[in-house]
Symmetry: C2
Subunit: 417 residues, 2 copies
């Protein structure tokens, strides 16, 4: 099997200022093309660390993909270090120069300075990969039968090069494997109990197919992966095994695709030609953001009222002042009224609502930090659930969002069309 290693370069990765999302995207796309990433290494902007990583990774991987450190400023040293490693010098690439000029003169309409022109310099021995989305060109090198590709760390620039140039080149030049995944999402059962429940299934799996458990936000994702030199009927075998797995976990099954809860909800609403809205207090727009991050969500999502302040709960969601004064904002009665108000005012078939104390402040003995009420329903019925989380603000928000999306999904499924 062809081995790939990804090297990411930049001090910002080692001091935690930036989260590396590039590697995950690259790995997904490489899998689709039949390549398996064996290792990922992150190092700082230091000459010796870069040289050491190039040596070590090329000792076992046939393909070494490098991102980062190609900017126009002095802290970006990848290009001179690559020259040293491949024993070559920098020369101007005419096509890259035209691209830099075009970006500054036509698109940015900003004066171009000497420093920008330097972006068009590349090591003489490399094959240049033009950057259609930015100024720094990509560079492809060959050494001792290994392929090295250096790309900018800016995500959309790297993505353009990978899709248009790097992956097509790798597919042409290296043996691809058969790699295929099937993923399903469960809710309402812990990882251990799930593993016990499907132990027979797991033990009977053939050698080329592996099962993985990915617990997150109170749900567990199960992934079957086939990885072999050749397909040889594995796709069919994977399908059969996946069907078996689905029937074994059917009572906890949320979706049998590798999609998010909001995508599953969107598919359900699209199939039923129905609409929804959100009335959010403690999640502060996060649920609406998750829903609207899906292209085409405007077909089933009309909008939201984010009611952080109680006055907005009253005015924009018709929550009666008596409910708030008798039960408080974080109560079953309030989220129930928020759902009804959203359905009335935002004119949708369904709505969901959240109200809780996300922390770190705002808790009381009665309602400690992490207390959350959620609700979902239609014009005739509203169901509610009380949650209690013991985490930080971010995780409390994420867990609330996952739970309320699933509450609405279950509510919709329980209705006949």
């Amino acid at each position: 099997m062809t081995k790939i290693s990804i090297i990411t370069i930049g001090d910002e990765l080692l001091i935690g200022q930036v989260i590396d999302t590039n590697s995950a995207w690259m790995a997904q796309e490489l899998n689709k093309a039949g390549f398996w990433v064996t290792r990922r290494v992150a190092i700082g902007d230091g000459r010796s660390d870069i040289l050491k990583a190039l040596d070590e990774e090329s000792s076992f991987a046939e393909i070494i993909l490098i991102t980062g450190g190609l900017g126009p400023t002095a802290d970006d040293i990848t290009k001179p270090v690559l020259c040293e490693y491949f024993n070559t010098t920098l020369v101007i690439n005419e096509e890259a120069l035209e691209n830099v000029k075009n970006i500054f003169i036509k698109i940015l309409q900003r004066p171009m300075i000497e420093r920008n022109l330097k972006q068009a310099e590349v090591p003489a021995s490399c094959t240049v990969i033009q950057n259609k989305r930015g100024t720094a060109p990509g560079m492809l090198f060959e050494k001792n039968g290994r392929i090295f590709v250096s790309m900018p760390g800016v995500p959309h620039e790297m993505k353009g090069m990978m899709t248009d140039s790097v992956i097509p080149f790798l597919k042409k030049s290296f043996a691809t494997s058969f790699i295929s995944h099937r993923t399903l999402l469960t809710a309402g059962i812990g990882e251990s109990s799930l593993a016990d429940h499907i132990q027979d299934f797991e033990e009977a799996l053939p050698q080329q197919i592996r099962l993985a458990y990915l617990p997150n936000y109170g749900m567990v994702r199960l992934r079957l992966t086939a990885n072999a030199n050749q397909a040889g009927g594995l796709e069919t075998e994977l399908d059969l095994l996946f069907d078996d797995l689905k029937s074994r976990v059917s009572q906890w099954l949320v979706t049998d695709e590798d999609i998010t809860l909001q995508e599953a909800l969107g598919k359900l609403l699209t199939a039923r030609k129905q609409t929804m809205s959100t009335a959010e207090s403690c999640t502060g727009g996060y649920v609406a953001h998750l829903i609207t991050s899906i292209p085409g969500s405007s077909a089933y999502f009309t909008g939201s009222v984010i009611a952080y302040d109680n006055e907005i709960k009253k005015k924009m969601l018709n929550v009666e002042p008596g409910i708030l004064s008798a039960h408080g904002a974080v109560s079953e009665e309030t989220v129930r009224a928020m759902v009804s108000g959203a359905i009335q005012n935002l004119k949708t078939d369904y709505a969901l609502a959240t109200s809780g104390i996300m922390g770190p402040g705002g808790g009381s003995e009665d309602k400690p930090v992490g207390t959350v009420w959620i609700a979902a329903g239609n014009a005739h019925e509203v169901i509610t659930q009380k949650l209690w989380f013991r985490f930080d603000r971010q995780r409390n928000t994420e867990l609330t969002a996952a739970n309320v999306l699933n509450l609405l999904r279950r509510f919709i499924l329980s209705r006949s069309l």
Copy 2:
């Protein structure tokens, strides 16, 4: 200087199913404690890959921090591989066993199965780090003067162990360095022009202080980092240099702290005891989510209307039907009316609004995908800006959010108190 390497274990990291946020958090906390992370390596759930990484990383690093692969299921193999590497066997740890029982019986109130009890097994030669937030204990090993710490991959469990046990232990056992960062955020100038503008400054920096450029979302963050064996007046020197840097970039300065735009806006509103709301179409709640992700934001943020549907723009934000029919939803007139409607209905001093076409669908010749209008203002005046992005839905949303938060920030700064 003490060298640290982080090894993260899990196939999900190599196929791109999960984005690694643990390493960034660990690096930040280690920096605060005076440690510098030299390398990060991500590998799959494979015996030989884990053994190879343990060997390679311990060849140069004194401290090797390992996360992942400690779950109760068959795909989690870190514990047996650690036994092999440290030539020891698994034994039950009584305190960890009590912890597992307590979690299942008292907190989860779920039946405990054999598999859960196995979570309390640890290699005989390790020092156990109890897990106050989950069932898998941490393990600390010593070999040839190197310290190896294995922790669960679940973020909040790993964080608890790092804060309570690992970092205090490392500070006691190893030499710490002086590491200090100063970060500022600029907007409205490109990375290259900025670098040219402060070239003198950069060239005159002393050896122990480095300048880094972090461009993102149309803004550039500048970071000064001092890294030396001893403080020796470096903190003062860093402050003086940072003051110099700030004055050199003052016309583009957004904030002189390592905070986000939404935090800068929150500080401004808090200082002025004023309030804001959002009226979002294309950002679909993302701006509200960014604002409410900050603890204490309820002091200055009252709420939002997410008006994906034009009917909601009319009904909840008082946008006159004539404006929508004459100019369309993505227009200067509409975002202007949305700001005024939000200020009226959500009763705030300021409001911001967004309306645009985020893609991939929905574009026209007149208004191609990526066309966005943003607005910000108070009851007396509204300022607007037209944006045009050429990226994907996610990046278009993030860029719109950054721009509209900055538009409101500049609007507020331009008002006297």
